[in-house]
């Protein structure tokens, strides 16, 4: 909400149109609107969340999905563990590769008590919360 002043409100010119169900589903005449209507939702507009993978296939730690882990006091250990897991092959993982990195991360989490434990699941910090003025 832009700052509301105490002055009298002057409304702009307003028009209202009504659409019936049939009119709404009738063919779109405008080619630009038709193009948008046929697009997948994710194609319509880019997200400000850059996604979890960089073009070279490595992990994007700027992804909102890992934001609060990366920024936590154990963020560095989290990066080490995830990078190791990403590059390790399945058989290497079975042989115990990345165990040290994961233990370092877990040890940091227990030491700092940095993540909430009162919730019944992990919060998605980056989901769009309802906003208000």
């Amino acid at each position: 909400m832009s700052s509301g002043k105490d002055d009298e409100r002057v409304f702009g010119k307003h028009e209202t149109f009504y659409l019936t169900d049939d009119e709404f589903w009738s063919d779109i005449k405008d080619p630009y609107i038709e193009k948008l209507a046929k697009m997948e939702p994710e194609e319509v507009y880019p997200s400000n969340n850059p996604g979890s993978t960089l073009p070279d296939g490595s992990i994007n730690f700027e992804c909102h999905c890992v934001g609060h882990l990366v920024a936590s006091p154990c963020g560095y250990e989290f990066r080490q563990a995830l990078n190791c897991q990403k590059t390790a092959k399945d058989d290497e993982m079975e042989e115990g590769k990345c165990a040290d990195e994961l233990m370092n991360f877990m040890e940091c989490v227990m030491r700092t008590n940095c993540f909430k434990s009162n919730n019944d699941d992990e919060k998605d910090k980056d989901s769009k919360e309802p906003a208000k003025s």
Binding site: S3, G12, F17, P73, N119, A131
Partner: protein
């Protein structure tokens, strides 16, 4: 009243033991009685080994963590239990600190010198001298009262939850209404220097810190906030904590969200923040939070901030995200003390708790809300929804709600919907003042009518906290009152802004300032990234969502100012079937180009469609065609088609 159904936690049936398996064969007993399968010596050795491992693991956990330490609980949990032992003090405002400031100066020079050396040993004689001088100056200015300082410090240690004693009626930008740190001993160590410093402990600073750490793995960030808790989401204070509360929500600040999951308002736990005394030495950095402190002065030349207790912190990059404070209603400024106790300006947790306490009192009958904007209207609905027996009144100055956003016709529809939900609205009303009644209630005088009220909730907008920036020599936007910044949210060399205070250049919509949660998140992230050297211009429009009545969900993006010319396209059938009115409203510039979109009772990914249309500078020449991109009607399903055929 029609509400969204509140989902219950799912019922999961437990499997019952059965003597036969799925194919009807008798099940093999789980513990064999055959002596071949009895444990041998080797098994007992293995048991002993297993037990030893369990003991070692527990010992390691005890050694390396504070998991069994009873003091480890998060502040808000501790505070919740603390609250139970103390009688609530909902209405007692803290003594006005500033009024005593010049009467009882008590800082002495020797103590100042001593403290300065204790906290921050100086290696440079000149610098030390300069800092001592500043400390003395700050001491002179501060209102440190020994006794009060001691008790405040104790309170700070005992109860780090948002204070419940804030009156909400006396705070100004310079006078924090919650506990101030002025005059108390330094209770926590702080770094002398930090690469990333953020002023303001809200959403914008939190997301800026996230962005900085996303860019730089080992970055060190310090957030300074004047509230006693970790950063939290403000929207639930007028939404979820009223809609999805349980009996303990007032203290736990938890609620069950629409998916049936328990949430609290806090963005992180206390442990997520590196203690302020450790951030300098943290080998892999982190985000630190200095609570209960205000920055009194910014020196952009020497890149230093001065705290309210006289200490200073140097920075490399600075973020100013000081938010806003509720605008005061001048008609109530001279009201007597009793009336003032009944006034709530909802902005923070103590305000919410004060309002909850009033609503919960057995003799409370009427809550009067002043203000026609988003927060005021949302609160009127929320209070009525949670306390249907209360008489909830709303006083508005025009003919409808949200007149700054909605076109007149829809603004009046909003009023109608609220009234249908039981809120009594006084439109075209003029507030003449307030006085205390015989039974301790406040009497609000509205257009010649006396409204006896147990609480007067005032929500007439936000005043951005820009004094600090102004005093530092930064420019203030004369139009929107924010701190003037460029499209990268930079206000001066190494100084950035985000959230409510930011007046920034939007390449599509011009100079803007906005006060929404999503906007604080977006500008916070952008400012944080740009502080690390990324030079990204503002591009992603923030949206807002609210529910103002059972049939009134509003979501919008872009410039949604009712002064602009508007076109609404609405569905015809929805109303006929008793459903909520569905409309999409297009806001146009003078040349007819689309600058904002508002949706009434519509959901889904259409907000991104609106962002695209605004970016593409679409002309609103054929609004009924454009409206086909918004979910005015549900998609055709085979069942729906069959139903239609039958009708024909």
């Amino acid at each position: 009243m029609l509400f969204f159904p509140e989902p219950l936690p799912p019922f999961v049936p437990q499997p019952q033991p059965h003597p036969t398996d799925i194919l009807g064969r008798p099940k093999i007993p789980r513990i064999s009685e055959d002596h071949k399968h009895q444990p041998s010596k080797d098994d007992f050795v293995a048991y002993a080994g297993g037990a030893a491992m369990v003991i070692l693991t527990v010992a390691a956990v005890v050694t390396y963590s504070n998991i069994f330490n009873p003091k480890k609980h998060d502040d808000h949990h501790k505070a919740a239990s603390h609250k139970e032992h103390h009688a609530p003090e909902p209405a007692a405002p803290p003594p006005a600190k500033s009024s005593h400031s010049e009467e009882k100066p008590c800082c002495d020079e020797a103590k100042c010198n001593e403290k300065k050396e204790e906290e921050k040993p100086c290696c440079d004689a000149e610098k030390c001298k300069e800092e001592k001088k500043e400390c003395k100056e700050d001491c002179k200015k501060s209102d440190c009262k020994k006794e009060e300082g001691k008790s405040e410090e104790k309170q700070h240690h005992d109860n780090e939850k948002p204070s419940t004693s804030g009156s909400g009626s006396g705070a100004t930008e310079d006078e924090p209404k919650s506990s101030s740190s002025e005059g108390k001993a330094h209770s926590e160590k702080i770094p002398d220097h930090v690469p990333y410093l953020m002023i303001g402990g809200g959403t914008a600073s939190y997301y800026a810190a996230i962005a900085v750490r996303g860019k730089e793995a080992e970055a060190k960030v310090l957030i300074i906030g004047d509230e006693p808790s970790v950063p939290y989401n403000r929207p639930p204070l007028s939404k979820e904590l009223w809609w999805y509360a349980d009996p303990k929500s007032r203290d736990t600040l938890e609620y069950i969200n629409v998916s049936g999951k328990r949430r609290d308002i806090f963005l992180e736990s206390d442990g997520w923040f590196v203690p302020t005394g450790e951030i300098s030495k943290a080998s892999h950095g982190g985000v630190s939070l200095l609570k209960n402190h205000r920055v009194k002065r910014i020196d952009t030349k020497s890149k230093k901030v001065h705290l309210d207790d006289g200490r200073t912190i140097r920075y490399d990059k600075l973020l100013i995200a000081t938010g806003g404070r509720p605008r005061k209603l001048k008609e109530l400024q001279n009201a007597d003390g009793l009336v003032r106790k009944k006034i709530v300006y909802l902005r923070d947790v103590p305000d919410y708790q004060k309002l909850e306490d009033i609503c919960n009192e057995s003799d409370t009958k009427r809550i009067t809300e002043i203000g026609d904007g988003l927060l005021g209207t949302e609160l009127a609905y929320s209070i009525k929804r949670k306390y249907p027996k209360l008489d909830v009144h709303q006083v508005i100055k025009g003919s409808g709600n949200l007149p700054n956003i909605l076109p007149k016709e829809l603004s009046e529809l909003a009023k109608f919907e609220l009234e249908s939900n039981g809120v009594k609205i006084h439109s075209n009303a003029k507030i003449q003042g307030a006085e205390s009644g015989k039974d301790g209630r406040a009497i609000l005088k509205v257009s010649g009518e006396d409204l006896e009220s147990d609480a007067i909730v005032v929500a007439i907008g936000i005043e951005p906290n820009v004094k600090l920036a102004k005093d530092a020599g930064l420019k203030i936007d004369p139009e929107n009152g924010g701190i003037l910044a460029d499209s990268e949210l930079q206000a001066a060399e190494d100084v950035y802004v985000a959230g409510d205070v930011a007046s920034y250049e939007d390449s599509r919509l011009g100079r803007r300032r906005a006060e929404h949660w999503n906007h604080a998140e977006i500008t916070g992230r952008l400012a944080g990234a740009n502080m690390t050297g990324t030079k990204t211009k503002f591009w992603y429009q923030g949206m807002f969502f609210t529910k103002l009545a059972s049939k009134l969900h509003v979501s919008a993006v872009g410039q949604t100012d009712s002064k602009l010319d508007t076109v609404a396209v609405c569905s015809k059938e929805s109303e006929k079937q008793g459903g909520a009115k569905k409309c999409v409203v297009f806001y146009k510039e003078k040349d007819g180009k689309l600058v904002g979109v508002l949706m009434l009772n519509m959901f889904g990914p259409a907000i991104d469609v609106a962002r695209r249309l605004i970016d593409d500078k679409v002309k609103v020449t054929s609004p009924t065609e454009l409206a086909k991109l918004f979910p005015l009607y549900e998609a055709e399903t085979p069942e729906k088609e069959d139903q239609k055929k039958e009708e024909k």
